[in-house]
Each structure stands twice: as structure tokens, then as C-alpha cells.
């Protein structure tokens, strides 16, 4: 159940063509290229819409991804590291995105900082696999989660602004 803005943003992200997971030696590199293509396009679109909110990069074989995401709340910028592994059943199952710094601070998270995507994301991914990729995971999975949880955590004092993180002009 994404809102209008999210749905519009997602519709601009190109869909992926190759149905291959990390165990498929021949086709995985092709899928990896398509992932990067979609992610680059998505980040460019975000920048153009003045809503640049994450960066991602992977190891050489594309099985482990790390990056940062940030969230602007009341003119202050909050930054978080994120990470995930590509599961063997990808792209039929989505990776479990983890924000380790927030581990234990919210009920909407599993041990290790894995973001709970069951309600709002898992059925959506199941219906659109394998055409959805990591860009869609960011847009429909992590994005909405941050939008709901971060303001709540800030309000409860569980997340505080770190000096030097910069504020929004």
C-alpha cells in the first residue's frame, strides 16, 4: 500500500529482465548489470526530484551490499548505514535489509537490525518477482519503512541527531 508519491517514483524505475539468482554462474553477472542500471537510474531520478536519499554498492560478485541512507526530519539530516546479503532464492525472495544501528530500538525490526517488510512489502515483491530488483526494494521496502519509523524513533528520543551530519538548507 504505497502512497501516490512512492507509486509514481516506482513506476519510473526500469524493470529487470534476467531471471537469475547468485547461484546461476552464467546469468548472474547479467542480472547484476541490470541491478546496477536500475539503481543508477533510480538515484538519478531521486536527485532530479531533490529527494536523493541513499547510496548502495556491492562486493565483486554482487552477493553482499552495503551503503548509507539518510532521512531529513525537521531540517536535520539523519544518516544510517545499511547492509544486506543476496539470498540464494533471489529474485524470487527479496533480500532482508538491515540497519544495524537501529537494532533493538523498534518492534518493527528483527534481531540484527533486519527491517520488518512482511506487511507492506513481501506480497508486493512476490507478485512482481523477478522483474523487481534492488531499486524496487529500496523504493518500496526500505523507503516507506524509514518514513514511518524514523520520525517515531526521533520523537521517542531513541534516535538523536549527530553533530556534523549537516542540515537541510
Amino acid at each position: 500500500m504505497a502512497d501516490e508519491a512512492t507509486r509514481r517514483a516506482v513506476s519510473q524505475i526500469p524493470l529487470l529482465k534476467t531471471h537469475a539468482g547468485p547461484r546461476e554462474r552464467a546469468l548472474w553477472p547479467q542480472r547484476l548489470k541490470e541491478e546496477y542500471q536500475a539503481l543508477i537510474r533510480f538515484v538519478e531520478q531521486n536527485k532530479a526530484a531533490d529527494n536523493d536519499w541513499f547510496r548502495l554498492e556491492s562486493n565483486a560478485d554482487g552477493t553482499r551490499w552495503t551503503g548509507t541512507c539518510w532521512f531529513i526530519h525537521e531540517l536535520l539530516r539523519y544518516e544510517f548505514r545499511l547492509e544486506f546479503d543476496i539470498p540464494v532464492t533471489y529474485p524470487d525472495t527479496a533480500p532482508e535489509v538491515a540497519v544495524p544501528e537501529l537494532d533493538g530500538k523498534t518492534a518493527k525490526m528483527y534481531r540484527g537490525g533486519k527491517v520488518c517488510l512482511t506487511e507492506h512489502f513481501a506480497p508486493l515483491w512476490a507478485r512482481n518477482a523477478p522483474r523487481f530488483g534492488l531499486a524496487h526494494l529500496m523504493a518500496l521496502g526500505l523507503g516507506p519503512w524509514l518514513a514511518v519509523e524514523i520520525p517515531d524513533l526521533i520523537g521517542k528520543g531513541l534516535v538523536v541527531h549527530r553533530e556534523g551530519q549537516g542540515s537541510n538548507q
Binding site: 547468485p22 547461484r23 539470498p87 524470487d92 525472495t93 532482508e96 506487511e119 513481501a122
Partner: protein
């Protein structure tokens, strides 16, 4: 798993370690091998498939059966992928997010539906979700529901391994209404998992090659070679006596009956004790003198 056996003195141990300790105390003759890792990552998945292929009773042989007792969709899909690829028979089990329903499922790659053949099944709850959901919490948990599901899973395993009773392909449990639906689901020829499709082809080939066996039920008459003494089997109680001793049968649904019935007429006949002037103490003294 942790709700069924983890005890406070085991705090700090991983689930599988605590499980091994508890189970080893119950039966030291069982051999255990524990691994605590996320099976969805590339490295661990390869090791996981290895252990299925070679970790049987005799090292180097495959296991006989895999039981899935995990709590998330991704892990189940990983197990499904491994078993489809290896042609490994397994049983999947689970409890719903609202903790008031659960199920077990027997999966034979190629013959029955695999876990990816259809979207996840849900045992219909027939309840208003609003009475169950709490704000800000994703999942509920009831060790009682889990205990019931664990029980029916192991029961199904015993029937499968020891060949008695009817092994259920799918058995659901609706805790709210105490409803246990059963069913079978055929494999989906358009399953997303290509190994499932491959197993289906192989199964069809094997079925075509199998000779058709006529199942004829014969009632065997118990006959002995000789009966030198002319022994006959006769009921100790006559038909008339049997009738008199039976009462009315209560109206019961199919599958339930009574152990015995109680007749309406008083069948106990005979002399009763006499009236006596003796006191209790007198009778006790009389007994002691005997």
C-alpha cells in the same frame, strides 16, 4: 523452537545448542549435529545442501527426511529450493502471524506441490482481525499453538517412517474453532522453480513405467490345519444376556463411539444384606474374632 524448550539457565546459547542440550538429556541415544547459521546466504546454503546429501545415519548417505520448523518465508523457500534440487522428501510446518492457526505439509518433489507451486496457504481464521492485532506489533506468538503443530508434525513423521495410519499431505489447525482441515495439492506444471518442474517430469516418467497393480481386498478366514479336539469359538455371554446388559446408544457423530453402555433396567438381582441390630463396634469386634 525457542518457545518450546528454551529455559532460563540456557540464556546465551543459540537455539540449536539449547535444543541439543535439552533433547540429549531426554534421550542420550540420539545423535545430533548442530549448525547455527542463516541458510539463505550462498556459503551456508552450499553447506546445508551438503549435509542433506551426506549427513544421513551413515555419513556419506543422504538423510531420510527433512523437517522445516523455521519461522520465515525466505528460509522456507531456501529449504524448498534445496529439496527440489536434491529430490529430497521433506515436511514443512508453521504457525501463522496471529498465532491462532498452523499447519504441516508433506512435500515430495515432483509428486506433490512444492512450497513455491502456489502462494503461501492460509488456514482461514473466521475472526475479525481487529480483535487480534495490536498497534505497533507485527507478529503474535502462542507456545500452545506451536505445541499442537509440533505434535501433529511428529505424529505425521512417525506414520511416514513406521508406515502406519494415513500420512497427511496437508493438515491445518484452526485454534479458534478447533478445525483440522486436510487436503492434497498436486504439483504446479508452471512452478517458478525449474527443479520442481524437472522433478515433475521425472515423476511422470516413473509413474508411466510402473506396472498397474490391482488392489484386491481379501478377508482372510482364520483356519487351522487341524482341529483334533473340535474346539469352537463361542461367546461367553448369550445374545439375550448381551441385549439385557446394553443400554441405549447416545446419538454420536461419525468417528466417536462409547466404550460401553449402561442399561436402564436394574440388572443386578439377588439377595441383599439383612437388617441387623448390631452396632458398628459389634460388627468390628465380630470381624476381629474370625
Amino acid at each position: 523452537m525457542n518457545r518450546l524448550f528454551f529455559q532460563p539457565h540456557q540464556a546465551g546459547l543459540s537455539k540449536v545448542e539449547a535444543a541439543e542440550h535439552t533433547l540429549r538429556n531426554i534421550n542420550p541415544d540420539v545423535s545430533f549435529e548442530t549448525h547455527n547459521y542463516n541458510i539463505t546466504t550462498m556459503d551456508n546454503f552450499t553447506h546445508f545442501m551438503d549435509r542433506i546429501s551426506y549427513g544421513g545415519l551413515e555419513e556419506g548417505m543422504p538423510v531420510d527426511l527433512v523437517l522445516s520448523c523455521v519461522d520465515n518465508f525466505e528460509a522456507r523457500m531456501a529449504i524448498n529450493t534445496a529439496c527440489n534440487e536434491l529430490g529430497q522428501i521433506w515436511m514443512e510446518s508453521g504457525v501463522s502471524e496471529n498465532a491462532v492457526s498452523g499447519h504441516i505439509q508433506l512435500i515430495i518433489p515432483g509428486e506433490t506441490a512444492c512450497f513455491a507451486c502456489a502462494p503461501p496457504l492460509v488456514v482461514a481464521a473466521n475472526i475479525d482481525e481487529k480483535t487480534l492485532k495490536r498497534e505497533g506489533v507485527c507478529a503474535a506468538s502462542l507456545p500452545t499453538t506451536m505445541g499442537v503443530v509440533a505434535g501433529i508434525l511428529v505424529q505425521n513423521v512417525l506414520k511416514y517412517l513406521l508406515k502406519f495410519g494415513t500420512v497427511s499431505y496437508y493438515l491445518g489447525y484452526n485454534a479458534m474453532q478447533d478445525f483440522f482441515p486436510t487436503m492434497t495439492m498436486k504439483a504446479n506444471p508452471q512452478c517458478n522453480d525449474r527443479h520442481c518442474r524437472r522433478q515433475q517430469e521425472e515423476y511422470k516418467k516413473k509413474e508411466a513405467e510402473r506396472p498397474k497393480v490391482e488392489v484386491v481386498e481379501e478377508e482372510e478366514e482364520v483356519v487351522h490345519e487341524d482341529n483334533e479336539w473340535g474346539i469352537e469359538l463361542v461367546s461367553e455371554v448369550t445374545d439375550a444376556e448381551l441385549q439385557a446388559a446394553s443400554g441405549t446408544m447416545p446419538d454420536l457423530p461419525e468417528g466417536i463411539t462409547v466404550a460401553y453402555t449402561i442399561p436402564t433396567e436394574d440388572t443386578a438381582s439377588g439377595a441383599t444384606v439383612e437388617e441387623t441390630e448390631q452396632s458398628l463396634e459389634d460388627l468390628m469386634a465380630q470381624m476381629r474374632k474370625l
